[in-house]
Amino acid sequence: MARSPGPLTRKFYAIARISWPGVVSALFLLLLIGATFTVLLIGSGPIRLINDLGKDPYLRQVVGFTLWQASLSTLLSIGMAIPVARAFARQPSFPGRRLVLQLLGLPVVTPVIVAVLGIIAVYGQSGILRDGLQLLGLSWSGRFYGLTGILVAHVFFNFPLSVRMLLPAWDRIPSENWRLASQLGMNSRQLFRWLEWPALTSVLPGTAAVVFLLCFSSFAVVLVLGGGPSATTIEVAIYQALRFEFDPPRAAALALGQLGICTALVLGLHHWIRAQSISRGLASGARYRPDADQSIHRSFDLAVIGLTSTFVALPLAAIVYAGCTGPLSSVLLDSRLWAAAGRSVGIALAAAAVALSLAAGLLVTSRHLVFQLRRRTESDVLQIAGSITLAVPPMVTGTGLFLLLLPLGIAFDLAVLVIILVNATLVLPYMMRTVGPAFLDAGHRYDRLCRQLGMSGWYRLRLADWPIIRRPLGFAVALCATLSVGDMGVAALFDTSGAITLPVLLYHRLGAYRFDEAAVTALALIVLCAVVFLVVDRGIGRWHS
């Protein structure tokens, strides 16, 4: 009897036939990151890299400052978030609670450059806060540009995010524990010590890790508020090495440094980051607790919540106000605004589509591997591949592609394409984390049923998966598109007349010191983000099969 091609070969083909989507996605990412790394390595020259990072005192300062500001920002954000989250947990029902929590969700999706404008208007050197203090007879003459400004902005973004990430911890405290604590007569401090703190420790490291990473690779905030070489992060230094000094080797060396540190951070913090999921859900916090109704605690909590809301709402309100009272007609009639807005939306939708395709490939195969081939390790590898871009900051990928295309003379011609690609990698981890769990859950529940009924491919997607992933998918695509509309990092690197996005246009106006026009542009950007989010979220979320 002739031997068949061999069971191993057959098995390989069988696996390859159903695994190709994930393999293609993973290869794509691998190729992108590999190419980036190679270009940077060749571009900087290993000797030059060691020289640069080792001997150049400025670069050492930059690295030091980047870590320093990220640590301080994390400490401040988390430190402020704990009491505020506690206040929300202790007051599970007061009018407007939901609204305030939703307000706290806004900074994350607000385009950084817009928020920075609002922060300058409120907390800046000649901002409203300062005027207010002067009215009260107080004065403050510190420098806003530099570390102060960066910290204020980072806290503005990450402190509300931390509150929302910490809040679910209170749901993990069993209600019996509260009753028991009440029986034992614990006071507020003891409750915190014995009930709340242990629950918090399970989410604190993850929250801190996420905040630290975000601050570590912060770009637009530092670019605008840094105020000079004393407050420069690695990302900004990369940008400056390319755009200010035309020093590609230096940019490459810096990008490699950023890549190295970021990868080390992600690997080091992976355990905690992985535990964090992104959801639109808000913790109920509706539990009986003995200290909730004491009027002193209640007033304290409400005051804390009020202050928090003011801190977050003021810059946003300042933008909306300045935008509405600014030169609306002249800015809105400017064709450049519409061109930039159109470009931004196009880039955002394309980036979301690319990210979705990559995520779909990875998830489909990952699910296949887990439920049908029982290969959990390989499945995990694919899942991690989807998050790998967390360790590779967009500015690094952007720099790599830029340097790759530069000698070919097409860096600026392909700007839009590169921005799409880089934004796609930027939002891919979000996509994986929002759609992934729902998709795997659909597999968990229905995989055998689908196979029993012979539902595969399109039938399975339409009848079994779509109804389950529709909402998270809509939310994910909307979130990704919105983040992409507002992102400025790589778009600033490729800033050229044919690729000016709305955030970059806003940055230009800010740079030309046209605050009134900038405010209107910022308003337009906010409206654009809101429209993109609502249209995509509702469009996909309500689209029945």
Binding site: R445, Y446, R448, L449, R451, Q452, L453, G454, M455, S456, W458, Y459, R460, R462, L463, A464, P467, I468
Partner: protein, 237 residues
């Protein structure tokens, strides 16, 4: 030759070994009993095609089905839960038994109506699973299995979460359908007494192997192995 033959099946999961030889007669109802971890569900998974054996073969009516995909086997299965898509109506769930993309012909629709009538769900077709009772959900799932027109029906403890009276009712329904439609039924059960209501033969599994087989009543009365005696002793407590 027996209707369903499991020939020298070998399967491994980590260090856990599974080795089975069995013959099941046409139109019989066989109970598979044994402690947790004995491999009862794995046996059904192998027959249904969710798992592939390392060695050995499965025959149904003399046809080797070992390499067939689950949907192409003359086998249907009722799980403990998640037998219905929560977002589809009962009628659509049942319809999936006729066509995996719900492209239904007139004949399919008649068959669906028949199946609905057979399990006594008339009038509930357009409800979503969440709006009917647990018993009605499993009836709908059973109707879906009937629509698939498969000779072998595997029951992986589908009635466990129901009340005793409902369980009894469902068992009689299965028994009736088996006779009417000439089905060959394999039933995993944790409760041998209940299984005895409808099953005539039984397989006792332990550690991935069949230790005893034969008439269920006989086995319950006179266990030959210490393992079965032990199992029954525990189950009687």
């Amino acid at each position: 030759m027996a209707f369903l033959t499991l020939k020298n099946l070998r399967f491994r999961q980590g260090t856990w070994q599974f080795a089975i030889d069995a013959k099941i007669e046409r139109n019989s109802c066989t109970a598979i009993i044994g402690p947790s971890g004995a491999g009862k569900s794995t046996l059904l998974s192998l027959i249904a095609g969710f798992e592939r054996p390392e060695r050995g073969a499965i025959f149904v009516d003399a046809e080797d089905i070992t390499a067939l995909a689950p949907a192409l086997r003359p086998v249907t299965i009722l799980f403990q839960e998640n037998n219905l898509f929560a977002h589809l109506t009962l009628a659509r769930n049942i319809g999936l038994g006729r066509h995996p993309g719900l492209q239904l012909s007139a004949e399919d629709k008649t068959r669906i109506e028949e199946a609905v009538a057979a399990v006594g769900l008339d009038g509930l077709e357009d409800r979503l699973p969440e709006s009917v009772s647990g018993g009605e959900r499993q009836r709908a799932a059973l109707a879906r299995c009937l629509c698939q027109d498969r000779a072998v029906l595997l029951l992986d403890e589908p009635f466990n979460s129901l009340d005793p009276a409902l369980r009894h009712e469902m068992r009689s329904l299965v028994d009736r359908l088996r006779r009417e439609r000439c089905l060959t039924v394999l039933l995993v059960s944790h409760n041998p007494e209940e299984a005895a209501e409808i099953a005539d033969t039984a397989l006792f599994m332990h550690g991935g192997q069949i230790l005893e087989r034969g008439n269920l009543e006989e086995l319950l009365k006179r266990p030959r192995t210490s393992q079965l005696a032990h199992y029954l002793g525990q189950s009687r407590e």
